[in-house]
Amino acid sequence: MSAETTESATRTARPQEPGKARATIGALVLVVLVVAGGYLSNADWGKLPDIFTEGWRYFYLMLKGLVQNPFSEPYSEYWSSAFTGMLESISMAWIGTLIGAVLSIPMGFLAARNVSNQVVVQITRVILNVIRTLPELVFAIILLLPIFGFGPNAGALALGIGAVGTLGKLTAEALEGIDPGPVEAARASGAPRSAILRWTYWSQVLPEVLAFWLYRFEINIRASAILGVIGAGGIGSVLSQAFRYREWDFIGILLFVIIVVTVLIDSVSGAVRHRIISGTGKTDKDIDTEPVGL
């Protein structure tokens, strides 16, 4: 290469390749981090082959549970308790999302820079950030179990509190992004503050906020399974129970029900979200991308 370029000096020289030093250093640091992580995580790597040897056996057992006649004992019992658990999880997620949605409306207005004054905005944002930092599980174990006891009611409240953090933040961001025109028009016509908030701010963000709620509902269905593991009811409780007794055929049925129902609800809710957002004529916006911030 070098010989060629020196020979044909009259030809424009090939541009020098940009340095790769930074990329190489980055890759090296990453490798060191991963190796150190593998060592410091105290993981018992020797057990890794187990997932291949044992995994197939368990997977076979799970499939076997699925293909059994669902009307024979004990499989009819398995299926019905799977569906009851899933319904309870969905109810928990629904009520939790509603609680979060209702509480997030005032929080969103208080945290929007173009609605409230600076001090209120900062305080509200701190509260929302604190809520967002803590997982639902922490709310459930700290406050709700001692007061409400183990059960779906405590789970729904924990999901609701957890949802306020993200929904409040997203609502505030939506409010900050509105078109100021209608606000000025309403102000010019002498509308009271409550009417301005209701008919100019809220009307503009309503479709977006509804989509956030639905998306949060989808997330809460998964989160309700997590709460179930600590005893908040729903499919999570049934699942951890089944794992405790290693009933693999039952586990297979439970996982199947979770997958099918979740995919179904996701697609229905996704279609509704799509309809809500595109109904406002915002077709240029990429409507299928979900808010990563959730």
Binding site: A36, Y58, L87, E88, L134, I142, F148, G151, L239, V263
Partner: protein, 271 residues
């Protein structure tokens, strides 16, 4: 508002336009929402009276929480090291495998419609299970410990990384792709040289986001038997050592906040 009513304005003024009646879809939707809410509330026996009746039970716990046991932070820091290591390993391998799936889950890079459909379906199934279900599965396979947590997060991360990256791939600039096609590039080199440079900044920022997610879900992972800080919380909570749990929760604030800041800084430099 009442001043503007048509009767008050002069006869010359045009009548105020009638308010459009609410659409049938809206009414049906609202009825459905109310019905589902009522049913769901009944299903989980929703009530708030406990909040007032049993508040004293909770108050005892809250008081313990207000007096965190600071000396416990030492134990928490070793558990945090474990959690962060789990997250690093799981996100690294998760996003690496997720990238391959992302190429298979976009019609820009995957020219086989059948394989594309299958990948999409497979990823939807992968994403529909909550992380805790994976932890339970791997705890059953390899026993309680960090390995179960790493494997569970690894599988979980593949689904998210593949979905987010596939959406980015769908939106790449077609120019380089056409150039690669014109020069007769194969499926692999097309993906590597025409697509990857375009998506790399976004992909790295997704990787950071997934790392953050893994730190956040560490409580859940550990609670179900996947090692790290969650396991510590579970043990201390089961022993009713609320002062220790409080110290852990405070350390969680600090760690999550620091990692958020770090990842925001890195992401700003990337994108």
């Amino acid at each position: 508002m009442t001043v503007a009513s048509p009767s008050a304005s002069g006869p010359a003024a045009p009548a105020r336009p009638r308010k459009p009646a609410p659409s049938r879809a809206l009414i049906l939707g609202l009825v459905a929402v109310v019905a589902i809410t009522a049913w769901a509330a009944w299903e989980i026996e929703f009530e708030l009276t406990s909040l007032f009746e049993n508040f004293s039970n909770g108050w005892v716990v809250i008081q313990d929480f207000l007096h965190p046991n600071w000396s416990y932070l030492g134990n928490a820091s070793t558990a945090w090291l474990e959690t962060i290591s789990i997250a690093v390993v799981a996100s690294f391998f998760g996003v690496a495998v997720g990238l391959v799936f992302a190429y298979m889950a976009s019609q820009v890079t995957n020219r086989s419609t059948r394989l594309y459909r299958f990948t999409k379906w497979f990823l939807a199934v992968l994403r529909s299970l909550p992380d805790v279900a994976y932890v339970l599965i791997f705890v059953a396979l390899v026993g309680v410990g960090s390995l179960a947590g790493i494997l569970a997060l690894f599988i979980f991360n593949i689904g998210i990384a593949a979905k987010l990256t596939a959406e980015t791939i769908d939106a790449v600039d077609a120019g380089p792709l056409e150039a690669a096609d014109a020069s007769g590039a194969g499926t692999f080199s097309r993906a590597r040289w025409a697509v990857q440079p375009q998506i790399l900044p976004n992909f790295l920022s997704y990787a950071l986001y997934i790392f953050e997610l893994n730190i956040r879900s560490s409580v859940v992972i550990g609670y179900a038997g996947g090692g790290g800080i969650g396991q510590l919380i579970q043990v201390q909570f089961a022993r009713f050592n609320y002062e220790n749990v409080s110290a852990i929760v405070i350390s969680m604030f600090v760690v999550v906040l620091l990692i958020d800041q770090l990842s925001q800084y890195l992401r700003r430099r990337l994108v």
